[in-house]
Assembly symmetry: C2
Homo-oligomer: 330 residues x 2
C-alpha cells in the first residue's frame, strides 16, 4: 500500500478550501522502549510497539500557509535551501497533501528544543506539520488518525501527537491503520528528564540507515522484537504503579539492548563517543551513591537522564550542564 | 561428572614417583572467536567452540616441585599470599593432582607477558601448570589430553597448549572428553598482534561472573551460539585462504557481538572505558585511511589489534604505545 492510498482513506471525502494560515505545536518525545526496525519502510510501520514520554513545551511549532510557485521553508528564522535534508523530507511529506498540483506551502518552523540539545526534531516537526495541515484544511481528524498521518513523515512523529506517556502500537495490518499512538492515563509530576549533550557533531550514520543495516546484518537483531515485547509490559506496569526503579532499569536496559544490536551489526554501528561512556559511568557512580538516576540513549552519542525531582541536586553534581525537563509540569 | 572423575579417566593407571622438579612454558592466547558461556560450569565446558592465536614467547613459565606442609606460590619472584585469588585458584587445581593427602607443591611462576599488558594470564598459567604436572609425574600424555586437563583449571587454558591458530572444540559429551583444543595447520608469518593497554585497573566484574550474568539475563545471548558457529566457519576459511580482510572483519565483529551480549545483560556489563571507544574510533579512522587494522577485545577495556607486518608503521602512528607480537616468528 502507498502513502497516498492511506491518506485517501483517512481524509474526509468533502475537502474544504484552505484557510489563510494555520499554526500548531507538537512536543518532542523520548522513547523509553525504542522504535528500532521497520516492518514496512514505505509506511514507516514498526516491527515492534514502542513507548515514549513527551517533553512538554520542548518541541516544534509550525505555521503553514498556501503559496504559489514552490514550497518555501523557514526554520528558526532562517530560510532553508530546498536541497537540504530538512527541506527535502518536509517537501516529500507535504507533496502527499497538495489539493492541486500547483498548490505549494509556506512553512515556518520554530524548534523550542535548543538545536544543540541532541534531540531529534523530526518527531515533533512532522507531528506539528500534520496538526497544522489538519487546521489549514479543517479536516477535523482525531489525534489517533493524525498520529497515523504523522507516522508517514517519520515513525516516531506518531508519538508526538500526545503529551505524557505515549504508546505507539506496532499493529499488524499491511495498511498500518492499526499502527497508531495513544496516551497512557498516568501522570507522574515529579518525574524529570535530563538532557546531557555530549556532541553536536553530525552522526556517522542516520537512524534510518542504521536501522536497516542493523536489521539486515546484526545477528542479535533476531531477538530484539521479543525484548521489546517484554520491556513494554514491564514499563507499562512500572508506570501504572509509579515504580520508578523498574521504569529506570527497564528503560536503561532497553536502550542498551538497542545499542547492542547495532554494535553487533557488520560493520558495527557505534554511536558511543568516549564522552558517552564517561557519562554512563557517571550515571552508574551516582546510582552507587544512592542517587537514583537512569539513562536512555537514541541513535546518537547523547544521554537522556531519568530521575525524580528530589534527586535533582545530586544529578546536577554529576552533570553540571544538564538541561532539565519536567514533562508533567502544569 | 566431577573433575576428579575426568582426571581418573585420563591419567595413566600406573603412577610414577614425582621427579625432583619440572618446568614448562605455555603461551598466552587471544581468541578471534570468543569463548563466552558454559554448558557445564564444573568442567568448564563451553556452549560453543572458539578459535585463538597463541602469542609465541609471551606466556607463563611454571616450575613445580614437591613440598611438605603446604603449597607455596611464587609469582614473578614474589611470594604470593595463600588467600589471594591467584593462589586459591592454583591450589584448587593442584588439589586435583595430589598423589597423597600430605603431598604439596612448590609453584614458581613467571609471566613473560608484562603484567600490565592487559592479557589474561590464567590461560597460559593453567596450561603451563598442566604441562609441568605432566613432566613432574612423567604421565606422557599427548597434548589433546593435556588440553582437557588444563581446561579444568580455566576454559581458555585448553587453547594455550598449542602454538599458532588453535581451535577449541565445544564437544557434546557430558564428560567433556570431546572438548579439547587442536592446532590448525596454517602458518601466517606476516600476521601481527598489537597489544593496546588502556587501563590496568581492576575490572568491575570478572569474566566468570560476567559470562554467567550474560547467559542468565541478556536477551541477546540466545543467538550468541549460532553467531559463533557462523564466525568460526568464516574464520577458518579466512585462515586457510590467508584472507586477512575476512579474518579481521570476522574477528572484530565477533568481539563486538560478545560485548553486545554483555551490554544487553541486566544490569549491563560494560567493560568499555572512554579510552576503549577512542581506540576503536582510531582503528576505524586508520582503516578509512587505508591501513588495514582490526581489533578484538576480551572481558576488559583493552584492545588487541590485528594487522600485517607491512602496516606496522601506520599502526604505530595511531597507537604509539602498542606492543607488537609476531605469533609466527621463528
Amino acid at each position: 500500500m502507498t502513502k497516498s492510498e492511506v491518506i485517501e482513506q483517512l481524509l474526509p471525502k468533502r475537502r474544504s478550501a484552505p484557510r489563510a494560515a494555520a499554526t500548531a505545536f507538537a512536543p518532542a518525545n523520548i522513547a523509553l522502549c525504542k522504535y528500532w526496525g521497520k516492518r514496512d519502510a514505505e509506511l514507516n510501520l514498526p516491527t515492534a510497539s514502542s513507548l515514549s514520554i513527551s517533553l512538554g513545551k520542548l518541541g516544534s511549532e509550525v505555521t503553514l500557509a498556501p503559496r504559489a510557485g514552490h514550497d518555501r521553508f523557514t526554520l528558526n528564522g532562517q530560510l532553508i535551501a530546498p536541497e537540504s535534508s530538512f527541506a527535502r523530507r518536509a517537501a516529500a511529506f507535504l507533496g502527499l497533501f497538495r489539493p492541486a498540483p500547483d498548490f505549494y506551502y509556506d512553512v515556518t518552523a520554530t524548534n523550542t528544543v535548543p538545536t544543540a540539545a541532541g534531540l531529534a526534531s523530526s518527531a515533533s516537526g512532522f507531528a506539528a506539520l500534520t496538526l497544522a495541515l489538519n487546521e489549514l484544511f479543517a479536516w477535523k481528524l482525531d489525534r489517533r488518525k493524525l498520529s497515523i498521518l504523522a507516522r508517514l513523515g517519520s515513525g516516531s512523529a506518531s508519538r508526538s501527537l500526545f503529551e505524557g506517556f505515549v504508546e505507539w502500537h506496532a499493529g499488524r495490518a499491511p495498511t498500518g491503520m492499526d499502527s497508531f499512538a495513544e496516551p497512557l492515563a498516568t501522570k507522574w509530576p515529579d518525574l524529570r528528564i535530563g538532557l546531557v549533550v555530549l556532541s553536536d557533531k553530525e552522526k556517522p550514520i542516520g537512524s534510518r540507515d542504521a536501522m536497516a543495516q542493523t536489521r539486515d546484518t546484526s545477528p542479535l537483531y533476531a531477538v530484539w522484537p521479543e525484548t521489546v515485547a517484554r520491556d513494554l509490559v514491564a514499563l507499562k506496569e512500572a508506570i501504572s504503579q509509579r515504580d520508578f526503579t523498574q521504569l529506570g532499569e527497564v528503560a536503561e536496559g532497553n536502550a542498551l539492548a538497542m545499542h547492542a544490536t547495532m554494535l553487533a551489526a557488520r560493520p558495527a554501528i557505534l554511536y558511543f563517543l568516549p564522552e558517552s561512556i564517561e557519562a554512563i559511568h557517571t550515571v552508574h557512580a551516582l546510582r552507587a551513591e544512592g542517587c537514583e538516576v537512569y539513562f536512555t540513549m537514541d541513535a546518537g552519542p547523547n544521554l537522556k537522564l531519568l530521575f525524580r525531582k528530589a534527586d535533582l541536586r545530586y544529578v546536577i553534581k554529576g552533570f553540571p550542564e544538564v538541561q532539565v525537563v519536567a514533562p508533567f509540569a502544569t
